[in-house]
Amino acid sequence: MRTKRLLNRIGLWFAVLMIVSPAVLFFVWMLSLSLKYEIDNAAYPPILIPENFAWANYAAVLESNRFGTYFLNSVLVTGSATLLGLLVGVPAGYGMARMKATKSAVVVLIARMTPGLSYLIPLFLLFQWLGLMGTLLPQIIIHLVITVPIIIWIMIGYFETTPLELEEAAVIDGASRWQVFRHVALPIAKPGITVAFILAVIFSWNNFVFGIVLAGRETRTLPVAVYNMISFEQLSWGPLAAGALLVTLPVLLLTVLAQRQIVAGLTAGAVKGG
């Protein structure tokens, strides 16, 4: 009996190893590529840990390619779209949950199903006509397509589960609807807002397709900038991998640090932007 349990244990750990290793090995290899000089990256058989680390790859990315500008663009687009999304999405989630109008959330579902490109054609024409191209505004506005549905969806689910008794007590005490929301519902909903915030930030940060159409030379976000590295500036693998790693590093850190909230948010709504 004891050997059988031991065998089961070994089997389980073998399965865990099989499942997790593709993810881990990929990111280890990404790191390895980014820290090798061209000679080591072209070596056969491949080298995992080089004798000399090519920190110069990171220096090259950080110094040139206007990395700072593109980083700032990404922060501004994702930051603005997420904050605006919270500003309209959190009250909307509250209103829809309390009106029991959760069926209207179907619009949110259909928005999730719609291919991102079909938003892009009409909004592209509209932004051109309004003369907004060349600024960050078009990207901030179109990223609302990602952030607003995620936030509304998660907040409806959250407000539906928060108890009504406290809110009713506040109404009896003469509080207005706004005061109830501001002082009773909102503080309770903070964990839900955190989940919505994290997921909105990640999916907005990762977005690529809106950027390739709407971004000009000065208004590129990081995913677009790193993609352009292959076509124009860089063909050597080291700096390219270093750039790719820097672009996705904030998201990876957030995933590990906030894994519990992310898992909760994704299983509740299973919403993804784009």
Partner: protein
């Protein structure tokens, strides 16, 4: 605090007649989001339909042509190829993640050390920036210098051309998609497993059922609705897949991996043929909705059968 500016204006404009309950109307809470949704989601839908009925070039004028753009789709061989690529890619990119995701969920449902941390590692591929990942996969696919052919050589498999050959490009892209999205299926199914009551297992143990029998007759039927939800979400995402394909192959070699979404991008933003691009967008959107409806119908049937078995 921050929400006050956005809310004050609509609050004043809403008539008191819409009061539903004590404490005031709820409409002011929903109105700002409604305006945003109308302008960035509903307006583009309507405008796309209108454009699809026009001959519309960027820089040129536009003229109403009725359904001519849709007629053009019927004879556009490149569109037909793209349709076939999309179906092929979607079928594989749903089946593989669902099967592997179900298996991973069963593993992660067990108790073992550092489960939370390992789950976070497992989830990383789906959270990472797709373009950044695609660039690294492109390097790994490289026929001479890529690490994948080296790994194949270790187990005695001859080197492959991966994304550089028309016959293997779509399966190779599916490999990336599977690596990336198996975690989402796992999370959804894991949620389902957590909701299964323990009683059926207890009585099955008393009856002397084996582990495999319990999986086949208890776990699988109970978790099937969650697997279906995961499959629906996966289908909708796979059919729309863009970043990975665009960044690794741009639809190549030739047009061997050009899906409808990539063709749509080329027509609208490389050839600037807005009218025709909009027609493709409309058809594509209907395909996605159709797929979702079909799968939801299947899911209902699955649940209904279960009730049948249970009763």
């Amino acid at each position: 605090m921050t929400s006050s500016q956005a809310l004050e204006k609509p609050a004043a404009a809403t008539p008191p007649a819409s009061r539903r309950r004590a404490g005031g109307s709820l409409w002011p809470f929903v109105l700002p989001a409604l305006i945003v949704v109308a302008s960035v989601i509903v307006f583009p839908w309507a405008f796309t339909i209108w454009m699809s009925l026009n001959e519309w070039q960027i820089g040129g004028g536009s003229s109403f042509v009725g359904l001519a753009n849709f007629g053009r789709l019927l004879t556009d061989l490149r569109f037909h190829d793209a349709l076939w690529h999309t179906l092929y890619f979607t079928a594989l990119a749903v089946i593989l993640p669902v099967v592997l995701g179900l298996f991973s969920a069963i593993v992660f449902h067990q108790n073992f050390k550092a489960r939370g941390f390992l789950r976070a590692l497992f989830v990383m591929p789906m959270m990472a920036t797709p373009v950044a990942i695609a660039l690294v996969w492109a390097m790994m696919f490289h026929p001479q210098l890529g690490v994948l052919n080296y790994l194949l050589s270790l187990v005695g498999i001859p080197p492959q051309l991966w994304v550089f050959h028309p016959a293997t490009v779509i399966p190779s892209l599916v490999l990336v998609e599977t690596w990336q999205w198996t975690p989402l299926v796992m999370l959804i199914v894991l949620g389902g497993l957590a909701a299964i009551p323990t009683e059926p297992y207890e009585s099955a143990l008393i009856d002397g059922a084996s582990g495999w029998q319990m999986f086949w007759h208890i776990t699988l039927p109970l978790v099937l609705p969650f697997v279906m939800v995961a499959a629906i979400i996966r289908s909708i995402d796979a059919i729309k897949s863009f970043d990975i394909i665009y960044a690794i192959t741009q639809g190549g070699p030739g047009t061997a991996s050009e899906t409808i979404n990539l063709y749509l991008y080329s027509v609208a933003f490389a050839y600037y043929d807005i009218g025709y691009g909009s027609a493709i967008a409309v058809v594509f959107f209907l395909m996605v909705i159709g797929l979702a409806v079909l799968l939801l119908w299947l899911k209902k049937r699955v649940q209904w059968t279960e009730v049948g078995i249970g009763a």
